[in-house]
């Protein structure tokens, strides 16, 4: 296998994103976590630079790049503010659903605003009955007099309060074999009967608001239906695998780089027994483990994304990347806190936030248990 090597344009992109993040995001990273609020102005600024529509074709107002470039952006933002990256990652879920399943008219209507960051997107699948149990969704969509009427409650929906355009899945009836069938609908904020409900108080990935979306006799026209009426479950699973899991994996790579760099910085500066603790072998072992976790997560993540972009069937590789990277981020953050001693638990240092953020990456897009089942299923097939 050839070495993982980015193109000149991708390296330039990384440098450009890093410059933006260090100037615009790093100074507010702690504040985003404390206030648990989405800095909409910075999101919109990212939009003008193309981050919001990185993989959207230029004809719809995007940058015309791909998932690898998207991962570079998420990694660079997550190096300092994974919670903020989560807003962009979730926005991309809504964008991808419309891009992959939308009619030409829907793409022309929604993508230019979403790609430019003028509007924020989202995807709502999870319900109190569960997230990975897509078939267990209770939210209903009934077709009456030429219009769809939606009722139900979505929960744990990121960008629930900030999204202007959300793709919502709902049960539309039964298929030929009597199994529940689902559809997906593009709902705009402010549509009567559609509103955000309670906001959760997460301990990680804060800033990316997560909460309920309530549907009470929410009536929309046929033009709101995204894809075929029975296509909603497929749309949800494909979008979450392609954009959600790869996105969480890239966010974890960013957290891992943060752990590695913060650990190295601290180890070189902290003097104990008359010398920097970096000279102590016990600390060196921790640094080595952080490095290996980061490198391995990076390789798995960009390889899985590369496979996806080549059109390969790679759900297991994506699940492996997501499983390893998110778990490694937790390990690495804990390890970095350990090597920092008492300083590690002080909020003056960001590593405590890295641990909370890393923990929150695990359930997003499917837990580690679910990822292992995907990997095992493909391996045993």
């Amino acid at each position: 296998m050839p070495e993982l090597k980015f193109t000149e344009a991708q390296e330039m992109l990384r440098k450009a994103v890093r410059e933006f993040v260090e100037k615009e995001v790093l100074p507010i990273a702690h504040r985003i976590d404390v206030d648990n609020e989405c800095p909409v102005d910075v999101f919109k600024k990212m939009g003008t630079l193309g981050f919001a529509g990185v993989f959207v074709p230029q004809e719809y107002g995007g940058a015309g790049m791909g998932l690898t470039e998207r991962a570079i952006i998420l990694e660079e933002i997550s190096r300092h503010a994974a919670g903020f990256a989560m807003i962009l990652m979730t926005h991309h879920l809504g964008v991808e659903a419309i891009l992959a399943y939308g009619t030409e008219e829907q793409k022309r209507k929604y993508l230019p605003d979403l790609a430019s960051g003028r509007k924020i997107g989202g995807l709502a699948v999870t319900e109190p009955s569960g997230g990975s149990d897509v078939g267990g969704q209770q939210t209903s969509a009934e077709f009456k007099d030429g219009r769809w009427v939606l009722n139900g409650r979505k929960c744990f929906i990121t960008n629930s309060s900030s999204a202007d355009v959300t793709v919502v899945t709902a049960r539309t009836g039964e298929d030929a074999k009597g199994r529940p069938a689902f559809g997906a609908f593009i709902l705009e904020a402010g549509t009567p009967g559609f509103a955000p409900g309670r906001e959760e108080n997460k301990f990680g990935l804060r800033g990316s608001g997560t909460g309920d979306l309530l549907l009470n006799d929410c009536e929309v026209g046929e033009e709101a239906l995204l894809g075929a009426p029975g296509n909603g479950a497929k749309l949800a699973l494909a979008t979450i695998a392609k954009v959600g899991r790869t996105g969480m994996s890239a966010i974890s790579v960013g957290i891992l780089r943060g752990c590695l760099e913060e650990g190295v910085k601290f180890a070189k500066e902290r003097i104990l027994y008359g010398k920097p603790i970096a000279k102590l072998q016990a600390i060196q072992l921790e640094i080595a483990q952080n490095r290996v976790d980061y490198e391995a997560a990076r390789l798995l993540t960009y390889q899985a994304i590369g496979l996806k972009e080549s059109g390969a069937n790679c759900d297991a590789e994506i699940a492996a990347a997501k499983y390893f990277s998110t778990e490694a981020a937790v390990r690495s953050a804990k390890r970095t806190i350990d090597l920092m001693g008492g300083y590690g638990v002080m909020n003056d240092y960001p590593v405590g936030r890295y641990l909370r953020d890393a923990m929150a990456t695990i359930p997003s897009g499917g837990t580690s248990h679910v990822m292992q089942l995907v990997i095992a299923g493909q391996t045993l097939a």
């Binding site: 000149e8 410059e19 933006f20 630079l49 193309g50 230029q58 940058a63 790049m65």
Partner: protein
């Protein structure tokens, strides 16, 4: 408005601790060093792009650097310049500011005509601040450095404010001009993803000594009237001395050391 922006790749400040000086020639060893656009040149490019947005025209990047610096020029194209001219030849190596200015002036004439030449007032590495004036003289254009404000009207009238030690000087003139820009002039824009995509299709022309038709004796180390004097890397090791004895005695000696170093009055 046709604008040339002189762009110099300089060592990345993040790698300053890795910079070496060749003890034989006294010249910076640039091989293997990551480069970035000279910080003040980014402000010059921003000024050029704003003028283009106001008046139309084109913005061309011109610079002298090893061929490996092409990525730095591509970055300038991603920021928004239309094309780049990179003067690169072994014969240009070791140039002082005058030999560099000869190459740049020739390239400006060949790629032009340009009504306005903008560049950073000072480079972050050499820091001589000679180039804007030397290029101006060689082109026969009026020139000003340390520019912190400027207005250029479509008919070519210019009002320029330049920083001085104890204030500023305002000058009025007409194009063509060479202006050395300071960072106070503007805030450079971020590189957009659309800019990166567009840059892949923009032309980067690489010109050699022969392409420019310059005399070998007028460029590079051979054509440089100034040569670096003695350059050395300072010994960064800290001097340490352990004082032993009774606390009072040690304290008295310590105060004595501080006094003799001029730290205590």
């Amino acid at each position: 408005m046709e604008i040339a922006v002189l762009l110099k790749p300089v060592p990345d400040p993040a790698q300053y601790d890795k910079i070496q000086i060749d003890p034989a020639t006294g010249i910076l060893v640039r091989k293997g060093l990551k480069t970035v656009i000279n910080p003040e040149d980014k402000h010059a490019l921003e000024a050029a792009l704003q003028l283009k947005e106001q008046h139309g025209g084109r913005v061309a990047l011109i610079g002298m650097a090893p061929a490996s610096a092409v990525e730095t020029f591509r970055e300038g194209l991603a920021i928004g310049a239309d094309e780049a001219f990179l003067c690169s030849d072994r014969a240009f190596a070791g140039a002082d500011s005058l030999a560099t200015s000869r190459v740049l002036a020739k390239a400006i004439n060949k790629a032009g005509p340009f009504a306005l030449v903008l560049c950073g007032s000072t480079s972050a590495d050499g820091g001589t601040a000679h180039v804007p004036s030397q290029v101006g003289e060689l082109l026969g254009f009026a020139h000003l450095t340390h520019v912190i404000q400027m207005e250029i009207s479509p008919d070519g009238r210019a009002t320029v404010r330049a920083k001085m030690e104890n204030g500023y000087r305002e000058s009025r003139g007409r194009l063509p001009l060479v202006l050395g820009i300071r960072r106070e002039l503007n805030t450079p824009r971020y590189i957009s993803l659309m800019g990166i995509m567009a840059a892949q299709g923009k032309p980067v022309h690489v010109w050699s000594l022969n392409d420019l038709g310059l005399d070998k004796g007028k460029v590079g180390l051979a054509g440089s009237p100034t040569q670096p004097g003695k350059l050395y890397q300072p010994d960064m090791k800290r001097k340490g001395e352990v004082l032993q004895g009774e606390a009072r005695e040690v304290a008295q000696r310590l105060v004595g050391i501080f006094r003799s170093a001029g730290i205590l009055g």
